[in-house]
Structures are given as C-alpha cells and as structure tokens.
C-alpha cells in the first residue's frame, strides 16, 4: 500500500488553508492523517476479519505568540476563506479568559520538503491467508491439550500515512507495523490465561514467530496453573526485557515528558544533571532510537524523529518535548509530540524507550541471587512523575534459589516503590537486548499512543506484592 492518495490530493488544500489562516496567526500547520488497520482473529468458536481502529482527518495548529489553538476536522475541501473564518471563530475564548493567555516566543518553521517511506511486506498477504493462519494456529493450540479451554490467534497490521504542511514545510511519511497474539485459556484445576505477543514491520516475521511460539505459550500455561501468590516482601529481582522496559517507561519515561515540566508535575525538572540511577544505568528514547512500533520519521508537530539519551551513566541528561512545551521552556523540541488521533491534542509522549545494554551475562546475574525472583511480561504500569512512586505489574515470576531458577512460579507480581530507590539498586545489567513493540501508553487515563519499550535484563532490589 503506497502513501495515501487521498492525502496526496490534499497538499494544495492544506497549503491554501495555511496561507489563509496565516493572515491571522504567525504560525499555522496542518497534520493530515490516513491510518488503516485490519484485524484477523480466530478462536475455537469464532473468527473475524475486519477493519481495525483507523482514522482519516486533519488537525490545524495555530499560534500567535500567546496560547496555542487547534481545530480538528474531517475534510478541508471547499472555500478556504470561509473555512479559516469558521476555524478562527471556533477557537475563540470567553472574554473572561482573554487576560489569561500564556506568552511564548515565536515558533520556528525551518524549510524542509521531504517524503519518507519504510517498506513492509504486507501486500504479499491477503485476507484469506492471514485469517487462515490464525485459524491454523488456534486449532493447533486447542488440539494440543484437552485442558486448553480456548485459544486465540490474532494478526493486526496497520498502515500509517501522514502529511504535514506549514508555511515552510511539506512532509509526508508512510510506514506500517503489525502485531500478532497467541492467547491460551488453560484449566487444570485453576484457570489461567497465557499469552505471547509479537511485533514487527514484516508479517513474515510475525507469522514465523507465532508459529514458533505455540509450544512456548502452552508450556507457559502449564506452568501458570501451578503458580502461587507471592509472599509480599523485598527481593532481589532479575527482570526480563519486557519488565526492564516497563520500568524505563514508568520510572523515567513519563517523568521526563517535558509538558509535565511546564506544569511543575515532574520532579525530573529539578534533577537534570544529577544522579537518579545507578552509575551503570543508561536510558534512551526516540522514534529514531530503535526500530519498533513508535519509529516514525516526524512527529505530529512536524518535528523530525530524534534519539534522546535520557540517563547517561546514572545522571539525568535530557527530557522529551513536543512543540508547545519546548516553546514554553525555551528548548528545542525533541520529536516527541504525539496525538491519540487527529481528534486529540498533541502532548509530549514517549516513543521507543529502553535501558541500554550492559556487560553482564544473564546466567551470572541469576547465579548472584541467593533468594529472589526473575519476573516476566508486562501486564500494566502506572507512573507518578511528581512523587516518583511506581507500580509495575508482571504477568508472572519464577523463584530463584541459591543462584538457580526453580520450577516455582508466582502470579501476578506487583512491583512498587520509590523510583530513585529502585533505579539506584540496579547492580547488574545484561549484555542482551530486546525492544518489545506491542504496547499502548496513556497519559493519565487517556490519550493512547502506540509505544515500545525494553532493554537488557536488570538486577535490582524491589518490593514485590
């Protein structure tokens, strides 16, 4: 699927509307989005082949040295003068608020015209093939063990086309990503749900990994039915890449989103240049920092993708900003302005967030634990950038006794504590590395965007409950 022909046909309309609104505002940009998604899914009793959640529309961003103004709409055809008047009227405020506008410097609009494309192999797979693969996987899992109550297999590709137009910039980008899922509902006395998630920009890779993952997800299910509740306490813990990523995301990802700095909602603002983690810890974020689900070429403010080092050798070095927060802080935007959709506001958001690899061997890390747990697979997490509390929930853990992994599984595992305590307790970092591109992240309890996170294995000392 090439770049959206619909958006291609709207370049002129966008330029004309920018020019018309430019008579009133010193900065005007338009982001056009055309996102298509598909869902293929099969389980023991049902199947599905349908569109997934997509979007198609425009958001106009305006600035005049005071507040920012935005207007979201479905189409920009027609008389531009009339449309510009409608937009300008729609974003007016009640007179009582006129004296309360913020003041910022003028926004930069450096000239750039460029088209970005990242190829996928999606065109080689039709609906019948993808649904057929899901059916085959589900049937295989259901037939493998009579204790399997149901098994879900799903493949979800999506294609992104975005057009950004301002007075001096015209950018387009087109790329795709896909996720695959295996979920086994298994009952052997206790009922459990075991899952396996894949993410890649090649369906061939997703399919190969799903096919190769059936035995692994069944094996996990068979172990999870034996899982016991964990005895709450403080333990030495080894994280898998998924949990490492969750810590990166919740501990310091949200904490360095610089729109939170503007609102005095993040302690990170006051810790720039200071130790916030173990001296062996390094952390990065950026659409250009890794190849994963959040690897776009430019953000929803038209800023090119960055690779930002957030923590260097334990010291907090940089934050992540969108256009509005950078303007208020007097910094350069870092390409982290992202929207849930064209209908929603742009905020400072994470992209691909991860701890950098270390030098330790995983087997040495496990061997160094007298009694603790290795914990696996993100369930969910919650940030608290103002007060640096953290909660991360892992799907399961495996007990480590005298330096060896046992067959003792615990589930679920809720890790919580004070962020600097957790990060400063990191004592070993493995030389392995994986970024998992299947996550979604909200800001508070809304504004969902696709993100990846990950890194190597960490050894830390944390509270588990």
């Amino acid at each position: 699927m090439p770049f959206s022909s619909y958006l291609e046909g709207k370049r002129k309309d966008c330029a004309e509307l920018v020019a018309e609104l430019g008579k009133r505002f010193s900065y005007v940009s338009i982001l056009g989005t055309d996102v298509h998604a598909a869902v293929y899914r099969a389980d023991r009793k049902s199947s599905m082949a349908r569109d997934g959640e997509g979007e198609c529309g425009f958001v106009v961003k305006m600035h005049d040295g005071s507040s920012f103004f935005e207007y979201s709409l479905d189409d920009i055809s027609g008389d531009k003068k009339e449309l510009a008047e409608k937009i300008t009227a729609a974003v007016e405020t009640d007179p009582s608020l006129e004296g309360r506008m913020i003041r910022t410097a003028a926004l930069k609009d450096e000239p750039l015209v460029q088209d970005f494309v990242r190829e996928t192999d999606f065109a080689g797979y039709d609906d019948a093939k993808l649904l057929g693969i899901c059916r085959e996987l589900s049937e295989k899992l259901c037939a493998a063990d009579e204790k399997v109550r149901n098994a879900v297999a799903a493949i979800q590709p999506y294609w992104v086309s975005k057009l950004f137009v301002s007075k001096n910039r015209q950018l387009t980008q087109h790329y795709g990503w896909a996720n695959g899922f295996l979920i086994v509902l298994y009952q052997d006395g206790k009922m459990v749900s075991a899952r396996r998630v894949e993410g890649a920009d090649k369906l061939s890779e997703i399919i190969e990994n799903l096919k190769g993952g059936t035995e692994k997800v069944l094996d996990l299910a068979r172990h999870l039915v034996t899982a016991k509740p964990i005895v709450p306490g403080v333990y030495d813990v080894i994280t898998d890449s998924s949990i490492t990523g969750l810590i990166a995301h919740e501990a310091f990802g949200h904490g360095v989103e610089m729109d939170q700095f503007v609102k005095d909602r993040a302690l990170g603002k006051y810790f720039m240049g200071k130790y916030v983690a173990s001296p062996i810890a390094n952390m990065r974020d950026g659409a250009a920092a890794a190849h994963s689900v959040a690897s776009y070429f430019f953000d929803d403010d038209g800023v090119l993708a960055h690779d930002t080092q957030i923590i260097r050798d334990g010291v907090l070095t940089a934050g992540l900003s969108d256009l509005a927060s950078a303007a208020q802080l007097g910094t350069e935007p870092t390409g982290n302005g992202r929207r849930d959709s064209y209908k929603r506001k742009s905020y400072s958001r994470m992209t691909n967030t991860f701890f950098c690899r270390g030098t330790d061997k995983l087997e040495d890390m496990i061997a160094s634990v007298k009694h603790g747990y290795m914990i696996f697979e993100t369930n969910n997490g919650m940030e608290d950038p103002k007060n640096w509390q953290i909660q991360c929930t892992a799907e399961y853990g495996i007990e480590i006794v005298d330096g060896k992994l046992t067959e003792n599984y615990v589930s679920p595992v809720v890790m919580s504590g004070y962020v600097p305590d957790l990060l400063k307790s990191i004592s070993m970092i493995s030389d392995g590395f994986e970024v998992i591109g299947s996550g979604y992240c909200g800001k508070g309890h809304k504004e969902w965007v696709r993100v990846s996170d990950g890194g190597p294995n960490l050894k830390a000392r944390v509270k588990l409950g």
């Binding site: 349908r50 198609c56 207007y71 007016e92 509740p229 007060n387 508070g444």
Partner: protein
C-alpha cells in the same frame, strides 16, 4: 453523496447490515497553572458499517470505517472488500435486532449553553477551590462534548442518542518547604452544578495537603482496608466482565450461574445489577451498538450468580430468549456498614491508588497506595508508600458494604467497601 444504505442495498451478497454513525463536537481548554495554554475545538464524524453474509450455514460479518471525505467509488470498493472478508468468516448464525425507532438525549442542563461561556464557568468552579494555603491546581483540562450516536440496520432499527458530557482533569498540588505532591483526578458529569464541582475539587485539595503530611506506617500489617467508589466500580466491572455472554461463549468465564461467590462468608451479601441508565452517568445508554434496547439485569443476587449479560449475538448463542444488550453501568445494593461501626476498629482507607490490580484467575486484589487514611482505633493519620495485597475470593466472602451510597462514573452503590484482613507492606 447518497445515503450509505443505498449502496449497501445495491450489493446482492449482503444479507444484513448495520451502520453506526458517531459525530462529536467538542470545545476544550488546557490550563497550565492558571494560564490558558491551548484552546481546541473539534467537529468530526465517522461511521462503522458492518455487512453480514450468510454462507454454508454460517454467518460472516465484516466491519469497515466510512469517513466524510470518502467518495462514492471509495465506498463501493469498501463494501465489496467487506463482503469478501465476510465470506471468509464463519460464525454461528444469529439475527440482528428488529424494528425500533428512538431519538433520545441523556438529561442535561448544558444543551443550550454557549460552550465558550460554559468552559469559562467550569474553570471558575474548579479554581474557586484553589484557596488552600500551599495548595495549587498545577494543570486543568476541560473537555465539553456533544456526542451523537445513531444505529441503523437492515431490519428496521433506527435509534439515535445525544449525550452532552464534560470531562475535567485537574491536578491538585500541595507544596511545603520539604516537598511538592499531587493527586491525579478526573471528574465527569452530564449536569453542570458549579457548587458540586468546587466541592469535589476542594475535597481533593484537602487530600493532597494530607498527602504532603503522609508518612509510611509501620509495616507489615494485617488490617481492614476501605475502598472508595472508583475502586469499588473497578471491582464490580471485573466481576461483571466475567459474566458477559461473550466470555461464557468463549469458555473464558471463571464463574457460572448458580455459583456462590460468598459461600460461608461473614460479610454483606453482594447484589450486582447491570443497568442501561444511571442518573448522572455519562456512560448511560438507551441502546447498544447493535441497537438492542437495554434491559437491566441482576447478575449476582445475594452473592450467587443469577444471570449473564451482553450483546444480542452472544446472548443468542447461549440460548437467551431476550438478550440484555451490552449494558455499561453497574449498580450494587447498599450493605449494613455504618459510620458508627466503622469507628469501632482500625482500618486503612485508600484515597489514591496507582491502579487497583484485580485478577480473577489468580484470585488476587492489590495495588500501590499513594495516599490512605490510617485509623488506629482512636485517631486518623495520612499514610503513603505502602502496598496492599489479598485474595479476591476472601474479600468477596467477607467484605462489608456501606449503607451510604454514591455515584461514580458508571457505578452507583455503596460509598465504601471494607476488605478485612488485607496484607499491607
């Protein structure tokens, strides 16, 4: 462009269809401290169209999105593609809801309001509570929405609902000479009462001041833990999800009709009813995405599972004569826990949790507590930096429900739920 229905009727392979149109107009203000950072307005619409194709004794369906910018050729291509997809899908047959017209609006006092003036009044109501020395509201987001949803199908259903709703995200903050702390809060309503908004934010301003004074208590401890409506609602939502027709059909349900969730328990008996409409809840609805008229359903009666609920399709699969429709609101009958009784023994009242963790399969309830009030039997002090965990089945058996009730989001029921013997670390 012609009505979508004309295009769908022109495709002979389609046995049935459903069109769900969503239109939203919004006006949004974003404050940084007390200054206005961003002003937004939106005017968007889209439709989800589902085509149903019967083949080989099965029913296939496929859904696609239609945007206002699409032309006739785009729409025809989408329909053809959806028909081909539906032919690949082989689900058990089911019927769409038949005949029914409705045009309804949720009760509101904001229908005729000038949104710009309304937004300013909401901001005033929030900032009126910003009078605590050391306190501030560091960020405020106000969203005023007018949603219109219309469901039509090939069997004569044509139903429309208009909802006026407001969502506020306010960040109460308290700063002293040692630290600055905040609480995250969102408020949602369909009827604007300035005094009520101010009172709710004022309560949060008091709580955030207490968070600054809060210290970790001596742990570990086994203690009764009180949950507030937001967390009670989450617990009820989790119990209800297990009893959804779709969950039962997929063999994913843990509990079944007749199961006693509170067998041999010493607590208040749980009666949980899923409802279409709860006064004041923005989640209230008169029909679901299929256009099915919603029928209130008592899922759990005095602790025993008494019914399932859900969509018409999955209800038909289970042989339910009149499926309830996809109900979204939950109501719990009040219990016997009085304020006087509460004062008789120590407890920990959760004010702010990171996120209540509930896992039915693993029989777990827990979470990190950001602010709680610890009552030691005599005095109450704010505490923080602790985590709780317990067995959900034990909680269900022995929980106590307050006499006093409250509405929160899609929940109406006891204002407090007491969980005895929880481990706090």
């Amino acid at each position: 462009m012609k009505d979508i229905i004309e295009f769908l009727r022109a495709e002979p392979a389609i046995n049935d269809f459903r069109i769900t149109e969503n239109a939203t107009k919004s006006y949004e203000l974003f404050f940084v401290h007390r200054d206005l950072e961003t002003v937004r307005a939106t005017d968007t619409a889209s439709a989800d169209v589902t085509v149903y194709v019967d083949h080989d004794g099965k029913r296939g369906d496929s859904t696609f999105a239609v945007y206002p910018s699409m032309g006739e050729k785009d729409l025809e291509a989408k329909i053809k593609s959806a028909v081909e997809r539906a032919k690949l899908v082989d689900n058990e047959p089911y019927a769409l809801p038949e005949k029914g017209e409705l045009c309804a609006a949720l009760p509101t006092n904001m229908e005729d309001a000038d949104v710009k003036a309304l937004a300013a009044k909401i901001a005033d109501a929030v900032y009126a509570a910003d009078d605590v020395p050391g306190g501030s509201i560091n960020a405020l987001e106000i969203f005023i929405y007018r949603d219109t949803v219309r469901v039509r199908n090939s069997r004569g259903v044509d139903k429309k609902q208009i909802t006026h709703r407001v969502m506020i995200e306010a960040i109460p903050t308290f700063t002293n000479d040692k630290e600055s702390v905040e609480l995250y809060e969102d408020h949602r309503f369909t009827v604007f009462e300035p005094g009520k908004v101010t009172a709710e934010i004022a309560e949060k301003m008091k709580e955030v001041r207490d968070r600054a004074a809060a210290r970790p208590p001596k742990t570990p401890m086994q203690i009764s833990v009180l949950l507030r409506p937001a967390e009670i609602a989450m617990m009820m939502r989790e119990l209800a999800a297990d009893l959804n027709y779709a969950s039962v059909y997929a063999h994913a349900n843990l509990h079944s009709i007749g199961d006693d969730l509170q067998e041999a328990g010493a607590g208040d008996k749980l009666t949980l009813t899923m409802r279409g409409v709860i006064e004041g809840s923005e989640r209230s609805a008169y029909f679901d995405e299929d256009g099915t008229e919603l029928a209130d359903t008592e899922l759990i009666s005095a602790g025993k599972v008494s019914a399932y609920f859900g969509s018409s399709r999955h209800g038909q699969y289970l042989g339910i004569e009149k499926p309830s429709g996809a109900l979204r609101c939950a109501e719990v009958m009040p219990g016997t826990l009085s304020e006087k009784e509460l004062c008789a023994a120590p407890y920990l009242e959760c004010v702010s949790l990171s996120n209540l963790q509930l896992d039915l399969y693993n029989d777990y309830i827990g979470g990190e507590i950001r602010l709680a009030y610890y009552f030691d039997g005599e005095k109450t002090v704010p505490v923080t930096g602790i985590t709780m965990s317990g067995r959900l089945s034990d909680v269900l058996k022995n929980m106590r429900l307050s006499e006093k009730t409250a509405v929160h989001g899609a929940y109406r029921g006891p204002e407090r739920l007491l969980m005895p013997d929880i481990t706090v670390l």
